[in-house]
Symmetry: C2
Subunit: 224 residues, 2 copies
């Protein structure tokens, strides 16, 4: 956005990255994701991230202001990948004619896969009590996610009040967030079973909500 060249002084300490630096940044984020996923955010030390990335602490701080800054960058990284995921799989247009179950499947499947592929994700997003710095880093992205889910839900209950929709979206997200650590920490068949349980929980909750106002809505969720 702002001019990063030497002439203007808009962003003081923002160096012009070279290719090496860009790669380092990605290596650091990769290492941070791994360590966050294994140890949790609080227990993760910046020195351990540097060690994991194969660099010195000093080098790390050439690319990131502090620990929260790493979390913020990683959160944005995840947000970007989630956006790509959405574009590829569960666009609203693609699901407009689909039923509730198919929609939930279309969202939940890739989301679980994403959590398994990116162990750091749940460490940043699936916590209920966050330190202030982490909270600031992830809330904007949580708001974005909430908007998308609310849009999706609104399609199935168009005559509900907006704050009802918002609340149902919040609850749905929270159901998923609560189950995610259980799923990622389980192995093989138990993991599949828990994923199926999550699917059941979300679908039955949302079905109940759809059925709640049967006048205007056509509650035939399974077939369009």
């Amino acid at each position: 956005m702002a001019s990063q060249n030497a002439v203007t002084e808009g962003t003081p300490a923002r160096p012009r990255r070279q290719a090496r630096g860009q790669q380092r940044i990605e290596e650091i984020l990769h290492a941070a994701a791994a360590v966050f996923g294994e140890q949790g955010y609080d227990a993760t030390t910046t020195n351990s991230i540097a060690k994991r990335a194969g660099i010195s602490p000093g080098s790390l701080y050439q690319f990131f202001k502090n620990k929260d800054d790493i979390a913020r960058a990683l959160a944005e990284h995840y947000a970007t990948q989630l956006t790509a995921l959405r574009a590829g799989v569960f666009t609203i247009e693609n699901l407009d004619g689909a039923g509730l179950e198919d929609t939930v499947d279309a969202v939940l499947g890739p989301l679980v896969a994403f959590n398994l592929a990116h162990p750091g994700f749940k460490a940043l997003f699936a916590r209920t009590d966050m330190p202030a710095g982490l909270r600031d880093a992830v809330t904007p992205i949580q708001v974005t996610i909430h908007h998308r889910v609310a849009d999706l839900i609104a399609h199935f209950m168009p005559d509900r009040a907006l704050d009802d929709i918002a609340r149902i979206a919040t609850v749905s997200i929270q159901l998923v967030r609560g189950m995610t650590p259980l799923i990622t920490e389980a192995d093989g068949p138990e993991r599949d079973a828990l994923t199926a349980e999550l699917r059941t929980a979300v679908i039955s909750y949302l079905s109940q909500q759809v059925a709640r106002v049967p006048q205007h809505t056509r509650p035939r969720a399974a077939r369009a």
Copy 2:
């Protein structure tokens, strides 16, 4: 390690408490619950607990071995009160003839009230990623809770396999745990609304599970 007591050597460093000390212990636990609830477990310092309790750090460590020990004692304190709660409200015998909805209500209502009355509770139990010390402190009690919930659930689906029952109990508990922080942090009417949503989610999830095996079970959940 050396025995400082005269006669028996059963519990080496366990002094014979006087009335004053017992009261101090309760004051410390009360203070710890408050600070845990406000700051979270990690952010809470032992010195801040001592300050809140109106004593010096040295005095605190005359009654508790370390920070985890405080958490463990507080967790046991909560477990005791929960047991009293169960005895008073939702004994299995009392609910044997009741339907699923009434049973869930009988559990969820007092449980939410308990969470509101004891702000430290969710800081100890409602976290998904716990430091090792805290995990050790609360897991025994979580196992107890899980047993009780599984017993309750088993009454509604007697022909399900034991690990199915266990998994359903785990998921149910997780649904409640995930929603608890949302509920306690909300105010007035929004809190009530979220509580109602939690009720809906749990009941619809469990109803779905009860309906899944209709052969042997009599799925007349609402009326006995």
